[in-house]
């Protein structure tokens, strides 16, 4: 078997990522590269990478990339997409980025129905800065800034931002998936394919929320982290389709 042929065209060869063992980023990067190739949009793709662990995504994905200030991914993606509608625009963001500092940009780019795809990596902590509490942190989950566990009275509740934007008329497609199991990874690829197709058809905003393990900051082994995604995170953030308005948008377009 020639392994070379299976290497995705839009994933750089001979690079070792800086991601920790058991991290979900690498899996999602690979899926993005595969789907870009399958749908033949890699040549006109522009990825907006976030402040956070995925800031160096341009070292791994072999497509054009622009870095974003923390939280501003979908504003930059809006500018890119409006200035050059021929580009295929992906904003890749984490949970602190997308649902804390970038909440306004997230809400309004979704509400405008920008023709972009958001890949939202939810690992319930701020990863790169060392595991602080995020808006998505579960109740009672220990982090460096919620050392006794997240306390609703002091720290508020886990924020379901994808459910919020899924309700907007401008959002054509929203799904929540995990990369903690082989089945979850398959569903992730299907969801990202659907989201990309939404953009290719010009139907508006699409978002895929990926529940993703962060063993280092969760102080777990990779296996424990995957189990935690399935047993704890998935209870709070139920995987599944959140909205699919593609059919009605196709009719509107026709």
């Amino acid at each position: 078997m020639k392994l070379e042929n299976q290497w995705p065209k839009y994933y750089k060869k001979n690079v070792v990522t800086h991601y920790c063992p058991g991290c979900g980023h690498g899996i999602v990067h690979r899926i993005i590269a595969e789907v870009l190739e399958e749908l033949d949009v890699g040549k006109r793709a522009l990825l907006v990478c976030p402040a956070g662990c995925a800031v160096l995504a341009y070292h791994y994905l072999d497509i054009d990339v622009i870095e974003s200030a923390h939280g501003r991914g979908t504003a930059i993606a809006t500018g890119v997409s409006r200035a050059n509608p021929d580009l295929f625009v992906i904003s890749y963001q984490g949970d602190g980025d997308l649902s804390a500092i970038g909440t306004a940009e997230t809400i309004h780019s979704a509400n405008r129905g920008e023709n972009i795809t958001v890949i939202f990596i939810n690992n319930a902590v701020y990863g790169m800065t060392g595991g602080q509490m995020a808006p998505t942190t579960l109740l009672d989950q220990g982090t460096t800034t919620s050392p006794l566990g997240r306390n609703a009275a002091l720290d508020g509740y886990p924020l379901h931002i994808t459910d919020v934007v899924a309700a907007f008329p401008g959002v054509a497609y929203a799904e929540r998936v995990t990369v903690a199991t082989p089945g979850g990874i398959k569903k992730t690829k299907k969801a990202i394919t659907n989201a990309f197709q939404t953009q290719i058809e010009g139907l508006g905003y699409s978002i895929v929320e990926v529940l993703s393990p962060c063993p280092t900051n969760w102080k777990m082994t990779p296996l424990q982290a995957c189990r935690w995604v399935v047993e704890e995170m998935s209870k709070e953030y139920k995987p599944g389709l959140l909205t699919d308005k593609r059919e009605e948008k196709r009719k509107l377009k026709a």
Partner: protein, 348 residues
């Protein structure tokens, strides 16, 4: 035509493809003009959810190689500083208009010049500068708006056009240059990799030595801009033994004051910086060989006066300052009296 509308028309003629902005007084007429006319011209107008979003849309648009702009007034410009720093780091061209108002904080909506430091010292975080153009008439708003796009493209840098509520609201006749038809090629623009290698734009440079190289590269660029793009106007300076330094609205008022003072026999002239960064240091130094008394007028508590002092640090000259901050518009009569007072002191 009003100043704010003029900027919009000039930007469209300069080939501005996208305008991203958020409402704030006293520059709303510019966004309104773009909503109607830029869209009509086939361009993009987005009213963003915030100043922060607007400047980041500018980042995205600029990255594709399009000519892009945003505008705001003082508090909104503060919010844009993060994005302006990124534009400088990415080396992306863009035009940012600041129609200054009184401050700090909410301040008021009256004309002021309190953002001089912010505009000329970079404004956001990190080691960078932005070229700053300060027009003093509606005609100059048109000319400098178009020039701002050229400078931005030529040097791959954000450029700031700075005025105030008076500049934005006043109406004067204006002749627009012909629309720009040919644009510089932008090989660096992100257009998707196509058949070529993939590329990226990043301001993240983790290696200290590499970051330092980038910092010095930017400095060399600013030096080149200083050599080639420094602009100023000299008004009645040929026979002057007393020099006023003022920019923008204040400079206009000064011209009236200088005419009055000259009627009383005071040989006073005006040095008007048109670029605030780069500051016209050399011309000040040349003039300081024969003129020993300088008076700086600003609608602030004294910011540009520091640049005058820096420029003339090695010259035996007297530098005085008179400021009206807070949105107070001084009259030519007030300035004429101040000129008179300093002239008498100078002659003692």
């Amino acid at each position: 035509m009003s100043g704010n509308h003029t900027i919009g028309e000039a930007a469209i003629r300069a080939g501005c493809k996208c305008y991203f902005g958020y409402p704030i007084t006293p520059q709303n007429e510019l966004g309104e003009y773009m909503a109607a006319n830029l869209r009509r011209a086939g361009g993009v107008f987005v009213q963003s959810e915030s100043e922060t979003a607007a400047i980041n849309m500018v980042v995205g648009g600029a990255a594709t190689g399009a000519r892009v702009m945003t505008s705001s007034s003082s508090p909104g410009i503060s919010l844009k500083q993060e994005g302006i720093s990124f534009l400088a780091g990415f080396e992306l061209p863009a035009v940012i208009v600041n129609m200054m108002r009184g401050g700090p904080g909410m301040g008021n909506i009256a004309p002021a010049q309190g953002d001089y430091y912010q505009a000329t010292r970079g404004g956001g975080h990190g080691d960078y500068r932005t070229p700053v153009l300060a027009p003093a008439s509606v005609q100059e708003l048109a000319d400098l708006t178009m020039e701002a796009f050229n400078i931005a493209d030529r040097y791959r840098t954000p450029v700031m056009l700075i005025g105030d509520g008076m500049m934005g609201q006043m109406k004067e006749p204006v002749v627009f240059p012909e629309p720009v038809k040919e644009f510089p090629e932008k090989k660096w623009a992100l257009k998707g990799r196509g058949e070529g290698p993939s590329r990226y734009l990043a301001s993240l440079i983790l290696d200290g030595l590499e970051m330092e190289r980038h910092n010095w590269k930017l400095v060399r660029k600013y030096q080149e801009i200083a050599e080639r793009e420094t602009r100023y106007e000299l008004y009645l300076m040929e026979d002057a033994d007393f020099a006023i330094v003022a920019y923008g609205t204040t400079a206009r008022i000064c011209k009236g004051a200088i005419k009055r003072a000259r009627r009383e026999g005071i040989r006073v002239g005006l040095i008007r910086p048109i670029t605030l960064f780069p500051f016209p240091t050399k011309v000040l130094q040349e003039i300081a060989h024969r003129v020993k008394n300088f008076l700086v007028f600003e609608m602030s508590t004294g910011q540009m006066v520091d640049d005058v002092k820096l420029a003339l640090a090695d010259y035996q000259v007297d530098i005085a300052f008179h400021g009206r901050p807070g949105g107070v518009i001084p009259t030519p009569l007030e300035f004429a009296r101040v000129i008179n007072r300093h002239y008498l002191r100078m002659k003692k």
